[in-house]
């Protein structure tokens, strides 16, 4: 009795925090989604959503491409780091995390300065008598920005998952006839699934909701759903439609998280069982 009272006392600040900053805002989003600017109930906001269908699709497409590119580059890097010596690992980890110590917004700005038509890259190209490239303002630039900003979030969980794989399993695979490619495909990749799932989630979610990357590197030539939401909230009269888009976004993300978690749950389940079997001998 005393213990549980103590427990709830300790948890109280967290509870207050949750209610104030997570639950209340969520309720506000739902409230605004179903009301008009006068505060009366309406479904107009929801019904107006198909208008934004194209923007939704572009956002989903671009964040899927960015996530995929992050995975494509991030997985081999995570594997490479996990196989290096302890000292090298520390150096790579610092190199990987160093950019995260700078604010995302500032990094995106500096990327713009580098990639802009009159930017650093193009002045080098011109100095070398090469044709300048137009990057900022293209979809490619935005995808590049997403990859650049969120890349560490892909590498870190995958790296953690790979380092946790028992080295004897890799030896067992070699023993049973796997060359290194087969070992990768049949043992390491499936056993690092939980890391892959978290990596994908942690890149996909911020990519799909980003607005400053598309504003800065997209050069204002097209809009992602994050930009749309931001724009709605800049004037009081469109709060409600912004809230409705946010709500749908959240639901979409929740659905994709649930799908992802199904994969990682299965994995975590068997890994947990392995731990139990290991200690229960």
């Amino acid at each position: 009795m005393k213990k549980s009272a103590k427990g709830s006392f300790v948890a109280a600040p967290h509870l207050v925090w949750c209610v104030l900053f997570i639950i209340a805002p969520l309720l506000f989003v739902i409230y605004y989604s179903f009301t008009d600017s006068e505060g009366a109930f309406t479904l107009d906001n929801i019904l107006a959503l198909p208008e934004y269908g194209d923007i939704f699709l572009t956002s989903i497409e671009m964040s899927i491409i960015a996530t995929f590119l992050c995975f494509l580059v991030g997985y081999p890097l995570a594997y490479f780091i996990s196989r290096s010596s302890e000292r090298q690992k520390k150096v790579y980890m610092i190199l990987l995390m160093l950019p995260m110590w700078t604010n995302l917004l500032i990094r995106t700005y500096s990327m713009m300065a580098i990639l802009d038509d009159g930017g650093f890259l193009n002045s080098i190209l011109t100095a070398l008598d090469l044709a300048p490239v137009h990057i900022v303002g293209t979809k490619g630039a935005v995808i590049f920005g997403m990859v650049y900003d969120f890349f560490p979030y892909m590498v870190l969980p995958i790296y953690t998952a790979i380092t946790k794989i028992d080295h004897r399993l890799i030896e067992a695979a070699a023993d049973l006839g796997c060359n290194s490619a087969q070992t990768m495909l049949r043992v390491i990749l499936p056993l690092s699934r939980s890391g892959i799932v978290s990596g994908i989630t942690m890149v996909f979610v911020p990519s799909i909701s980003t607005f400053y990357i598309s504003q800065k590197l997209g050069g204002g030539t097209f809009e992602l759903i994050g930009d749309t939401i931001e724009r709605q909230f800049q004037s009081y009269s469109t709060y409600n439609i912004g809230a409705a888009i946010s709500l749908v976004m959240m639901i979409l993300i929740l659905i994709s998280l649930a799908v992802m978690n199904r994969f990682s749950d299965e994995d975590a389940g068997s890994a947990g069982a392995a731990r139990i079997a290991g200690t229960g001998k």
Partner: protein
């Protein structure tokens, strides 16, 4: 019989420490060979060199006469049952066992047939779709054996495979392993620190210590004719005494002369004398070749175990006759119970029971179960 694996002058160092020091070993086809030694003696490293997980710093590892030093593990006709099994946690029992066949692109119906055969062999029929993480230690062990045997390797390496099992299960698995080996005719190379396991299962036993092979021989040879104090002490219990070989058949130790059957030593050569605890008979003090005082008695079930003080040296003696503590007794030793060995670097380190206690013995055994290189 044909040699299947030959190790020549194998040397292996880790961080400047010599783990294997000039290992020379021939392994013959279809035999069950055990590499026995305490923790850190280099036995697992020897196995890993044969398996292809380590490369020797110098020396040759031959398979069927061909040097395989640089052949990677996945191309060797050698499979391994790992310590703690190393089953793939993301695959069920069937897929774990079928793993090697899937790599070889064996047709599905043949895979099913051969996995079934393996499951029958290790008595796990009906476990096909079980999650390997939920199996007991003994069942995981069987899956590991089936997985390693399904591709019909020439040689199976077993790295302390029974270490994690309880005593009863271990005994059953010992018989089963021996059985499987005889049925399949595959060469088994078995690594253990458990001398009883080694004596029970092996054709030849290889005793290792400090990165060197101490002795190779049948279990009976190793037990009856240990080459030095280390082997005598590691295999079974031994009283090891300082002695002098007067001439063939005559040895002096514990302050008197004994008749023995060993010979081939130099005149008056200092030697180590081994007397096994079960080879000593109690007689009346006046009739004894040696006399002593019983300092402790332990009941062991089949026999009693005595620690007897003879002129300051503590002997271990096992007998079914009961003698009480502090009683004065005589000892009689047959000539063929006295085994003579040349002096070695291990002389004087083993075979004295003055600090002996069961508890200590168990502690040191538990220690060797720990993982090693």
């Amino acid at each position: 019989m044909e040699k299947i694996i030959e190790l020549h002058n194998i040397i292996k160092e880790f961080d400047g420490e010599r783990i294997l020091d000039n290992i020379d070993l021939d392994i013959y086809d279809k035999e069950f060979i055990t590499i026995l030694g305490p923790s850190g003696c280099g036995k697992t490293t020897t196995l890993r060199i044969i398996g292809g997980f380590e490369t020797p710093d110098s020396g040759e590892c031959r398979f069927d006469g061909k040097v395989i030093n640089d052949v990677p593990a996945y191309r060797r006709h050698v499979n391994t049952v790992f310590q703690k099994y190393a089953l793939f946690p993301h695959l069920n029992v069937f897929e774990n066992i079928a793993f090697a066949l899937r790599l070889q692109k064996v047709p599905e119906d043949e895979i099913i047939r051969r996995v079934r055969e393996m499951l029958d062999m290790v008595a796990l029929r009906g476990f096909e779709h079980k999650n390997v993480n939920y199996l007991s230690g003994g069942q995981q062990q069987r899956v590991a054996i089936a997985r390693a045997l399904i591709s019909q390797p020439r040689v199976l390496l077993l790295d302390e495979p029974l270490g994690a099992l309880d005593l009863k299960l271990r005994k059953d698995m010992q018989n089963e392993l021996k059985n499987i080996q005889q049925r399949t005719g595959i060469t088994f190379i078995y690594v253990t620190h458990d001398q009883e396991e080694a004596l029970t299962m092996s054709d030849p036993v290889v005793v290792m210590a400090d990165g060197k092979i101490q002795q190779v021989g049948t279990p009976i040879d190793i037990y009856n004719e240990p080459v030095n104090a280390f082997v005598a002490d590691f295999i079974g219990e031994s009283n090891i005494l300082d002695g002098v070989m007067l001439e063939d058949g005559r040895v002096r130790f514990s302050g008197r002369e004994f008749v023995c059957v060993d010979g081939g030593f130099e005149k008056n050569e200092p030697v180590d004398v081994v007397v096994r605890p079960e080879d000593v008979d109690f007689v009346a003090p006046e009739k004894g070749m040696l006399t002593g005082v019983v300092s402790s008695v332990t009941f062991k079930g089949v026999h009693y175990e005595f620690i007897v003080d003879i002129g300051g040296f503590k002997w271990m003696i096992q007998s079914t006759d009961f003698v009480d503590q502090n009683e004065k007794i005589g000892l009689s030793i047959d000539p063929d119970a006295i085994h003579i060995m040349h002096k070695s670097e291990y002389s004087g380190k083993y075979g004295d029971y003055s600090s002996f206690s069961d508890e200590l013995d168990e502690l040191s055994n538990a220690d060797t179960v720990e993982e090693e290189l």
